[in-house]
Symmetry: C2
DNA sequence: GCGCAAGTTTACGTTAACGTAAAGGTAATC
DNA sequence: GATTACCTTTACGTTAACGTAAACTTGCGC
């Protein structure tokens, strides 16, 4: 197995994802990620790295950190009672609606860019 | 033709798009929209309304107001020289890359939500 | 002509998401 | 053992995108 116990320092991850250590610590402040510690040093596991990827993906889509935390919390096996599960299912449904809306918006914008590009190309030919 | 000369007050548009007049004025401060005036009153045309829609669409996708202005400026027939046109074409290409990235991110997140939902449904059955 | 709703400008306040600086601990390296 | 490279916490600063309040004008209905 591909060394599932690999760990990373904060600057390892910062380098890899081209963000600052400050940002990563900020995500921790906001309870989005909670690495182990070796003394005072943060030790990030593969799972932490995946969470960080999820955070950054959420950001690219335009979600706020608190929205991202909502999503992350869904993945948490805090789970248990059935009420909670139904609540999560509703949350998931809401998210899906928002994401579909974004897909629409992006497609609209992409076709608008296409049209714009055509116009500009015509101007060049002329 | 469907009354192409229709106009709107600021609160008309605020109501329609469920935002505050303050936001619309803010977009004007940021040069995203420049309605006509009747004395001191702002008069919005159909074109202004379309611009506002474009602004809100951009926001939903997660763009900042200055990014949205960049996009809006592309639509502007300020145009003219060829250098400028090529610059725009590059900008358009950049935008497209970002939008495609977002599409990827959204699809990833959607399938993750699907998987999560399945897990939760299993928990209910069990 | 008066009140009220809707418009205006000016300006200070607020929140999110970090940036930046200060002051200090730790570990390898020369 | 001193420098160097990272790490830490604490805390104040900054920017974007408005919110909110104050003070004033304008048009409509009665």
């Amino acid at each position: 197995m591909s060394d599932t116990n690999q760990t990373y320092s904060i600057s390892d991850l910062a380098r890899e994802f081209e963000i600052t250590p400050r940002s990563i610590r900020h995500y921790e402040d906001q309870k989005l990620i909670t690495p182990k510690r070796n003394g005072s040093q943060r030790i990030y596991s593969k799972g932490d790295r995946v969470r960080l990827q999820l955070i950054l993906r959420g950001k690219r889509i335009g979600f706020s950190l608190s929205e991202i935390r909502e999503i992350i919390d869904m993945y948490d096996p805090t789970a248990g009672d059935e009420k909670q599960t139904e609540h999560l299912l509703r949350k998931i449904a809401e998210r899906r609606v928002a994401l579909h809306q974004q897909q629409q918006d992006i497609e609209t914008m992409l076709t608008e860019l296409d049209q714009l590009e055509q116009k500009l190309n015509q101007n060049i030919e002329a």
